[in-house]
Symmetry: C2
């Protein structure tokens, strides 16, 4: 058979077991005859179900039939031939019925029936799968059509289009080869435009097409209509698994479908003359959600593909729309009327009919619709309706409008907005027209959304300096490290040459809600020369660039931005979300500014305040480093002293005298840090206005606080007035093979109890200073209840001391982060000592899956694309694995302490799927970065409504 | 009060809740009056229970009373004063009874009662806690004693001893201070020996002691006997938690005890004249277990401490023993009889009585006893009996002898040998006398037991070269890496300057059963100069050294070794172990030689054959490296090709042509490796003679196979004829932040399926070549069932291909290692695809606890000593955490597949506690290094007998 070979791979999750009962694979639709309806979307696909439904509503739908998605699954299960054997009788019966309904005959006769063959899955995948139009044409039917329409140009053009589409889609002949033939004819005739081709030229094109196909494929272009149909059905089913479609489903998170349905529908022709047309329309504006006029475009004498192809300029449907369109393009009313009149003006009757259908469909589906229609010789036909895709702004606007219009209730409105889409509304964005005109340098990873425009700086110090002078800066680094925090904080955007979506830069930037583009491999950043080069372009310090953190685009120069609006429909939807959600939403924030922003976004407290970021600012890093330089010495000497027996009095004395100097430095450094930390917490508690604040004690390994590069070490040696060799020695001694599993978290607090004590004292003194503060002290990286018990004892002792000194009674609880698998499986023991749990899903994922976030890039992408994991487990919680670990921990913990407060912090807290999972497990709250708080609020509401 | 201050820390696990019922704290013992018996060991301690028991048996035991271990717990719970308030009445009543039993009066009267105050916990802790003898002496009782004994020297010497002991133990006065006073008197008199001191000199010493104590402590030495007793009881209770005792319990794994009991016993005096003596004895030889004669020592006119102190030479108990002793020292029979006569000769009647008691006690306790006795004026008193400590050789000898003597049954004999002790019997050891004479250079960590003597070499290549020439070499490295495997394999011993008990050198050496001393920090190894220096000593290549891997000692020169004997009593005990155990024991082995040895040690198959070691030998490392150099390129290009859509035909062609060269190199390297791997497996399968063999597919990250140092890289570049820069680039690209969580295990097999295929093909072809082979293919580091399913599909396909090509039917199963926490919590899914599970407890511990084995040294020692973990979790399975993870996995897995075969491999498989745990969970087998196989067999038998 003359068809493209099709891979017989079975699509994942699509195994269909044979049923004893005879299955119906073909469903007819058409006025009064529809066998399907809107509830059969899974079986008939969205398009098929809606066509049946529209026909049932009495709308003018060309009749046809749908071959089900189950047939598609069968196609992959039993193969192409067996599938056709299975459905042949049903297809033929449906064709008969179609001939009767249209009064035409398929592939022959004086009034030949032509059909379209289109894909249509349960989820919309526009343009991803194959379509064949004008099927049924062959030399005989062409002749009959010409006789009937007296429009040879239209018929030959239709035939040409059919051969081209079928040839490409079904037979696998390259587009390019068709274009060569068409060009040859045009060149011979001296034409430049397709529209110059006359009927006989098109007849020539058809002959050339058929010859070329025969030469390429070694067999004649099929003339038998039934053969054409059979091959086309196979091709559409086959296109379900073309790489483009697979990629689209992956990107749009479309899962668990059987396959696509195939819709075979009687052709109507928008290209049969000037009384014909074709168009697409939205019942409301899909980009703003506004309802000003009927939003859509059409073309006279055209087939559907022409509207999309961009060769001719589509015209507006309404007069109002047409005038606005012309105004934006400075087209005079006269020119508009002459060249781009609206459908309302050209075919007022048809327009009225279409407008009535619009209202009817929107009321019927209670949502904004995306329509396709064709007008054949003045008669309107509806070819498709579906819920229209829309921007986040449109989604909230439409949802709230539909409540007002009493089409939907509040709960439905809450379910209508996709939480992850909200991100679009929360960050500054580029003014669209400005971005379109900007000069793009490169595209990196969209690491943290939003738009930023600023002057290039190459280090944190310059960033801070320039920011103080009131400049807007973009911090450009090869990669960032914790030392850059200060600079990142003052920059308007961050750009890195290396590092993925979960690199330091990306994670911190998302936390700050700051625009970030990471991993721009094409950029060469030179710290020495202070330049960024990309190809021939070289930018230097102080030059302006602009970043689109939502797309990863990097632009030269300044691009105009606009601020997000958190009022209006957005505020309405968020208020409804809060009304219906039951789980709390907190934020991860480390500064008063982030805290204030998160509260503005609706955060009900802080779920994770990372105290280590506080050690990087200004002079305090010097104090902290001074402590680190002697910390290990202090620890070793103390251990040696503790090991002395009564008999070792001399040795003990020697060790104690040796300890004196480093211990003094150690205590001095902590003493310097105390007031600074206290000030930090005072700021946080003030911003929270009585909301709770989970403060995590020092977590990262100490080596992260020391410069790893020679230059940084030399600078540090100079500032601290110590030998460079000494610093190198400490850096060396702190080096770890697997820092993820190293000396960090509460292991530091156990080794250096004075650090815990200093932090707790700062928290308590701040709480005493700010009335109504509710700190919750969180001990990180606990794997063993005894670690928590030891730290808790120290914490409570310190709390009591401050309470006594300040003569106050503080509201303080002590809990732990569950992020080590051992903590999860011994959660019953740990719960006894903990006032609360917060699941640190980032590290829990790393240790549960055995994935180092820094290294997993080597295989994780592959794992996701092969379906080992449904999503990147660092983006969406791996529910099967890490989720089960959490469930095990929850069961153990709530088993001994049913009211234990449980939350989640970490990147996953802002992911809607994870939020739903946490709700199901009975979490008290989720915590996420400030900019994801609204997303979490909405996701939590939806989870509550779904359950 | 004039006492050393005692820390009031509550000992771990020793909290005793107050009971409403009145508790009895004091138990009397003595002829016909004993309130306790041998069953009350926990309450009365070993010494107290046995004293009561011996008295009950009618043996001559001086009467006394025991203050219980519960009182010790109370001491720590309620403090010293409250404890004495609690027990005072009982103590006074017991004293009254003791006065009556002895006819003496405590602290006064013409016949004063003196007592000893001794510690005695439920587990024996010889010499670790405090003892006070001669308590009750004061100026009045001294006078009375002199009047009564007419032996003023004896009485003043007793008083001197009492003040010295009490002063040190109870009052905390340094030993040294007493020595100074004694020396002063001796100097004044011109004496050199203590024995020259006359009664009046000793009286002078007593005066000086009392004055010195008063000056030092600021109060008089107590003369009131009751005060002396009260303070001594406190001191003994306090000594339970002295650092020495804590350390001893830690080292000897003594846990869960309440504390020590205190035994107050009427004094009998072995130092009251030449008709008095004191001694210790074992009922059989504790070092060989032989039963040739009554083994023990005694001293005339001495107190117990003198026997141990080593000032006088103790004499033998029997004539036979005495003659052997003299012969070994070339002492003539005449001299022996005159100076070192046996007890049998000196006091034949007492000897007979003692010998009868020996037989009685051994029959009573059905075990070898360790006795203490005193003879006062010709009367024998038994002061202690306990099960004697013994070497492993003695343990197996005694256990098998006792079966023959019908004192115990087989099961009891199996329980009598401590499994971990067997290690002593399995390795070559130094001839004791030779080791005693050898010159010790330094002491490192006892990384892998046994003794070795050989010539120093500094790299693997030289080791292999010299070994081929028949030399015995010791490989000396700063640290070892996988590249050194070949050299380690041929060396008789391994010495490293860096690295702990679980360093590469230590782990590999233990696996090979090869002697290893690691972490000798004092040694400076120079590869350039080919020298080891330690202080002033410099050794060069070819010099002889000797290592004791059981103690960590390193000696200069050759030290004579002897081979282990696996026959006789050892074989008997092992046969009994096999008779009673129910769980299988396999071995971890990678070479035919190790396999053969393990089979000799009783291994029932291989539980873990690591294939990566096979890639290091000889030329194959070059082939493997050639593969690595292009592996990533091949992977990237393939991914890019797979991502091409139909439209990208040109790009695809370009990528495919780019792929050709690296793919050729990749396939060529694998082709070279196949026959080499096949040969490895043939050797293994032959050595196994039909026993099963679990083969783990390639596991470590690829970077481990490339040299990380500049010199190695340069050499590799030269051998491979490629640019050094290219190699550096590949090394760089393979670098990982956390290699433990990186691109390794089955992740490699997924990225490079041809490697899996090559390995499986080699296994299958080897199995086809060796009849009866039973390979079990193990996929490492599975975290997700889909990884296993993908690898399994590839494995089964390859198996089928080989079966077809070789026309055989192979017995092959496919299973996985459970070492990632995610695998444990999704074990129900994984079990569906697996024929067997093997728990890889090393990595499971790392990921469950979040401990990097390479880095955890920074805090783990501290964690164990603080009791956060009972043992180092890399030595003994952390049952609470990792154990629970395993239990969860077992429940999930056996829930869906009740007969799933489950084993454990990794370091823990040879630890007796872990073996017992695995048996309890229903494991089918444990697998451990060859030299631990007997240990595991015995531990498994004991676990079965205990349950």
């Amino acid at each position: 058979m003359c068809a493209k070979s099709v891979k017989k791979t079975v699509p994942a999750k699509a195994k269909v077991t044979s049923k004893a009962k005879r299955t119906k694979y073909v469903y007819f639709f058409g006025a009064d005859q529809s066998e399907g309806d809107v509830s059969m979307r899974t079986l008939l696909g969205g398009k098929g179900a809606n066509l049946a439904d529209m026909a049932g509503l009495g709308l003018p739908v060309p009749p046809g039939f749908t071959i089900t998605t189950e047939a598609c699954a069968k196609y992959y299960e039993i193969g192409e031939k067996a599938l056709h054997d299975l459905i042949r009788a049903e297809v033929q019966a449906a064709l008969k019925r179609l001939e009767k309904a249209t009064g035409k005959t398929f592939g022959k006769g004086p009034n030949p029936l032509l059909v379209s063959v289109r894909s249509g899955a349960a989820a919309s995948m526009p343009g991803m799968m194959d379509t064949v139009l004008n099927l049924g044409l062959n030399p005989d039917t062409v002749e009959a059509m010409i006789a009937r329409t007296n429009n040879p140009r239209f018929v030959w053009d239709s035939y040409r289009r059919f051969i081209q589409m079928f040839g490409n889609v079904v037979l696998g002949v390259d587009h390019h080869q068709f274009e060569l033939e068409l060009e040859a004819v045009k060149r011979a005739k001296g034409y430049t435009l397709d529209s110059e081709l006359m009927a006989e030229d098109l007849q020539d094109v058809v002959s050339r097409y058929r010859r070329m196909v025969k030469e390429t494929k070694g067999c004649d272009f099929p003339t038998d209509a039934m053969e054409q149909l059979t091959l086309s059905i196979s091709a559409v089913f086959g296109s379900w698994n073309n790489p483009r479609a697979i990629k689209y489903r992956e990107l749009n998170d479309i899962r668990g479908l059987l396959g696509t349905a195939v819709n075979v529908q009687a052709m109507v022709f928008g290209n049969s003359g000037d009384n014909s047309a074709t168009g697409v329309a939205f019942t409301r504006d899909p980009s703003t959600g506004e309802h000003k006029y009927f939003y859509g475009e059409y073309l006279i004498n055209a087939q559907g593909e022409d509207v999309v192809a961009g060769i001719r300029t589509p015209q507006q449907i309404t007069i109002k729309g047409s005038r606005e369109w012309a105004k934006a393009r400075s087209i005079t009313e006269a020119v508009r009327k002459a060249q781009y009149p609206s459908l309302e003006e050209v075919m007022p009757k048809v327009f009225k009919q279409l407008d009535a259908i619009r209202v009817k469909l929107e009321r019927h589906y209670r949502d904004m619709q995306d329509l396709e229609f064709t007008i054949e010789d003045g008669t309107l036909y509806m070819l498709q309706t579906r819920n229209g895709k829309r921007t986040a702004a449109a989604a909230v606007k439409i949802a709230t409008d539909l409540i007002k219009e009493k089409l939907i209730d509040e709960k439905t409105a809450v379910m209508r907005v996709e939480p992850s889409q909200l991100d679009q509304l929360l960050h500054p964005v580029f003014v669209k027209s400005a971005e379109a005109k900007a000069k793009r340098i490169t595209v990196g990873l969209p690491a943290s959304p939003g738009a930023a425009t600023g002057q290039i700086v190459f280090n944190a110090a310059t960033a801070e300096l320039w920011a103080k002078e009131g400049k807007e800066v973009i911090l450009c680094r090869i990669e960032t490290s914790p030392e850059d925090i200060g600079g990142m904080n003052v920059a308007v955007g961050i750009l890195t040459a290396r590092g993925g979506m979960t690199s330091h830069a990306a994670v911190v930037a998302r936390g700050m809600g700051k625009c970030c583009v990471s991993g721009c491999g094409e950029l060469h950043i030179s710290y020495d020369r202070k330049t960024i080069s990309c190809g021939k372009l070289v930018l230097k310090e102080g030059d302006w660039i602009s970043l689109n953190g939502s797309t990863g685009a990097v632009y030269e120069g300044q691009v105009e931005t606009q601020a997000p609006k958190l009022t209006g429909p957005f505020a309405t939807i968020m208020a409804l979300a809060d009304k219906y959600r039951k789980m709390g939403v907190r934020t991860n924030a480390d500064t008063p500014r982030d805290t204030a922003r998160a509260v503005e976004f609706g955060a009900e407290g802080i779920g994770l305040c990372r105290t280590e970021h506080m050690f990087f600012e200004g002079d305090r890093v010097t104090s902290f480093r001074r402590m680190i330089l002697v910390a290990e010495t202090v620890k070793h000497l103390r251990q040696a002293i503790a090991a002395c027996t009564d008999a070792d009095a001399d040795e003990r004395a020697r060790l104690e005298s040796e300890l004196a100097a480093p211990l003094k430095q150690y205590n001095q450094a902590l003493k310097e840090l105390l007031p600074l930390q206290r000030k930090d917490f005072i700021g946080m508690f003030k911003a929270l206005k009585g909301r709770p604040c989970t403060v995590r004690l020092l977590d990262p390994p100490l080596h992260e606080f020391l410069p790893q590069d020679a230059a940084g070490q030399a600078e540090m040696a100079k500032i601290m007035e110590v030998d460079l060799a000494y610093i190198q020695e400490v850096v060396e001694s702190l080096h770890e093979t697997n820092p993820m599993l190293g000396h960090r978290g509460c292991r530091l607090g156990i080794s250096y109890p004075e650090v815990t004590e200093m932090q707790v004292r700062a928290i308590c003194e701040a709480a005493a200073a700010v009335k109504g503060s509710r700190p919750e002290i969180m001990v990180p990286l606990v794997g063993n209840v005894k670690e928590l018990a030891a730290q808790k004892e120290l914490i409570l002792k310190t709390v009591a001391e401050v309470e006594k000194a300040k003569k106050v009674k503080l509201q303080i609880t002590v809990g732990t982060m569950i992020e080590v698998p051992r903590a999860a499986v011994t959660a019953d023991q740990i719960a006894v000592e903990a006032d609360f749990f917060s699941f640190g899903t980032n590290d829990l994922t790393q240790m549960t899956c055995g994935f180092s976030r820094d290294d997993a890039g080597k295989f994780l992408g592959d794992y996701v694309s092969r379906g080992f994991y449904d999503y990147d487990p660092f983006q969406v919680l791996d529910m099967e694995g890490v989720g089960r670990m959490i469930e095990i921990a929850m069961n153990y913990a709530r088993g001994v302490k049913p009211k234990l407060k449980v939350g989640v912090c970490g990147e996953h807290g802002g992911d809607p799927k994870t939020v739903a999972f946490c709700y199901k497990l009975g979490f008290d709250y989720v915590s996420c970065s400030p900019y994801r708080v609204p997303i979490a609020r909405l996701a939590a509401a939806q989870a509550a409504l779904r359950s």
